[in-house]
């Protein structure tokens, strides 16, 4: 029996941009199973990021039903969403979004602080070693390259041992080589540790290396196919 982590049933997201109503996500049905590695792809403005935010409980649906780990999050308040995010979800962003005043290690420890979890410094250090930054733990973000910053962000997302990792254009601000390195970390996390990963990208070369590809266009899912290139 395969475990369904997220189940989206005809979810919609509408928001107001000035006077105009914009439908960013339209009638999306999607199931995410444990151990999946999904790339959400599509042109700019197709609603990739909005869909990712909704699935990651950062944003709320306008209509439809969304279940995340057996919680009906379409009816939950922000205060309840925080608890679900804290316990189950890790986030990586295109712009890394590290706290500039904190060292790499402190950035990784931050979710433990917010999660009221034991301050497990060894775990944070191990994660930084895992992403290849064992000798950079006390560096500030500004002292790190883009690829290194994104690796800190990945370690930060993993420190609470989430069930799902969401990554929004994680390679979008990186050169090709660093981008591939980051992508390889995701692949390894998925294959070795069985971590469920959902990311958005408009980089075909990388996106096609995921297990499953969800194509979005104008907020609709146009296809959900297994990738042939996944290895």
């Amino acid at each position: 029996m395969v475990n369904v982590l997220i189940k989206a049933d005809k979810i919609n997201k509408t928001y107001k941009l000035f006077a105009e109503e914009v439908k960013a996500v339209k009638d999306v049905d999607l199931e995410i199973l444990q151990g999946e590695f999904i790339a959400i792809m599509g042109p700019s403005g197709s609603g990739k990021t909005t869909l990712l935010d909704i699935l990651g409980c950062l944003d709320r649906v306008s209509s439809g039903k969304l279940q995340v780990l057996d919680n009906d999050v379409s009816v939950l308040k922000e205060s309840s969403l925080v608890k679900i995010r804290r316990a189950n979800i890790g986030f990586v962003f295109q712009e890394f979004l590290l706290i500039p005043t904190l060292t790499a290690l402190e950035n990784v420890e931050l979710p433990l602080l917010f999660g009221k979890l034991p301050q497990d410094r060894n775990k944070a250090i191990k994660l930084l070693q895992m992403v290849g930054l064992g000798n950079r733990v006390n560096h500030l973000p500004k002292e790190l390259s883009g690829g290194e910053r994104q690796r800190v962000a990945i370690a930060r997302a993993l420190v609470t041992s989430p069930k799902i990792l969401f990554a929004d254009e994680p390679t979008g601000n990186l050169d090709t080589k660093s981008g591939q390195q980051i992508f390889d970390i995701f692949k390894e996390l998925n294959q070795k540790d069985g971590l469920t990963i959902v990311l958005t990208t408009h980089n075909n070369k990388l996106g096609l290396q995921a297990k499953r590809i969800v194509y979005l266009k104008d907020g609709h899912i146009v296809s959900k196919e297994e990738s042939s290139l996944y290895a």
Partner: protein, 394 residues
């Protein structure tokens, strides 16, 4: 890692801005502490000054009582004279415990204050002066050899200023009269420290005021008989009776009306500082919109964000409070100097007294100030919705 270190590190990010904001708080707290220290110190010194006069009632020649009070406190009091016969008459009253006649006179000494010139105050006193002020002690020397001797005893500060020791001779300026120093008083912390004392008869002689007095200090056996005693003197022509309680009350009233003004200034300074802190923190919250969004995305609750911002504000105010206290303490003598120049009458002794209680109180006040100033920015930060903060935060 702790929440407080997240807050502290953020304050270090914009050092100049943080420093200026702390400076604003420090100035406000410093002004407040100085003013409150002045309130306390002034009252204490004034009370000390008046209590150490040793008499409860002063009889002077008729005139404006406030003018007389001020002149008397300044040690002058010599503009109007009364006859010594008044003293002889009053002295017989059985309600009096001690009574001491005085004749004050001033001379301008052009050599004083490094050639700027200054007023020298001479006070003719009789032997009863020491009875009225039993705490007066000699630093060196002794009392006059007789009540008409050409001798002086110098107050502590006047002796330091004039650089005199017993045995020296000193010239009374403008009169060409040489007097011999026989004694120097210990410091009393009152106006008497600046006075040059001479025997009453000598004073009447050399200042050419035979049979004249400027004041009579009286201490009663029973303080309760003060009212009766004052009344019995109303019929004496050419004199007036001033009780020290009245003088104290009058001066306190004058001071407290100016206190309202200075306290308003302090409150406005505090208000400006609070608004400055709110403005600074609010700005830094808006600048960090994305960071706050990402904190929420990685698990920070509203309360977590609220606490971080609140702590930042409180840290600023706590540091401002500490620095303000230090500035107030270091600035005490400067403030005293300024106040002495401004006030028409300033008592001797310390004008600004900053007690540990005042410091603790002002510190707690600064903490409360920070807690209040932090509420709105912290509320704004904690109300940010994560996705909007991250995606639209540019």
């Amino acid at each position: 890692m702790k929440i407080i270190s997240v807050a502290f590190k953020n304050l270090q990010r914009k050092k100049i801005r943080t420093f200026l904001t702390i400076g604003g708080v420090a100035i406000a707290v410093g002004v407040l502490v100085s003013l409150m220290g002045f309130d306390a110190g002034y009252q204490k010194s004034l009370t000390n000054d008046i209590d150490k006069m040793g008499y409860q009632v002063l009889v002077t020649a008729k005139g404006c009582p406030y003018e007389a009070a001020t002149l008397m406190l300044k040690g002058g009091g010599g503009l109007r004279y009364m006859e010594q016969s008044v003293y002889d008459k009053i002295a017989k009253d059985p309600r009096i415990e001690r009574i001491s006649p005085q004749l004050a006179a001033t001379e301008f000494d052009k050599d004083r204050q490094n050639g700027q010139g200054g007023i020298v105050l001479y006070m003719g006193v009789s032997n009863s002066y020491l009875e009225l002020k039993p705490w007066s002690k000699f630093k060196s020397g002794k009392w006059f050899s007789n009540d008409d001797a050409d001798e002086v005893i110098i107050g502590y500060e006047a002796a330091e200023l004039e650089q005199r020791v017993p045995g020296d001779e000193m010239l009374v300026p403008n009169l060409n009269k040489v007097l011999k120093v026989v004694g120097i008083f210990e410091r009393t912390g009152t106006q008497d420290d600046g006075v040059i004392f001479i025997p009453l008869k000598t004073a009447q002689r050399i200042f050419d005021l035979p049979g004249k007095l400027t004041g009579i200090g009286i201490k009663l056996k029973e303080i309760g008989s003060l009212g009766d005693f004052e009344e019995s003197l109303y019929n004496e022509p050419g004199i007036q009776v001033i009780s020290m309680a009245q003088v104290k009350g009058t001066i306190f009233n004058l001071v407290s009306s100016s206190k309202v003004m200075t306290n308003s200034v302090a409150i406005i300074a505090i208000l400006i500082a609070v608004i400055g802190v709110i403005n600074t923190i609010l700005m830094s919250v808006f600048e960090r919109t994305k960071e706050i969004g990402v904190m929420k995305a990685i698990g920070a609750s509203r309360l977590d964000v609220f606490r971080i911002i609140w702590l930042e504000t409180t840290l600023i105010c706590v540091l401002g409070g500490i620095i303000g206290d230090i500035v107030a303490i270091l600035g005490t003598s400067a403030v005293e100097h300024i106040i002495r120049q401004i006030l028409p009458y300033a008592p001797a002794g310390k004008l600004v007294i900053i007690t540990p209680g005042l410091m603790i109180g002002s510190f707690l006040g600064a903490v409360v100030m920070g807690l209040i100033a932090g509420i709105y920015p912290a509320f704004r930060a904690s109300s940010m919705r994560p996705v909007e903060a991250i995606r639209l935060g540019d």
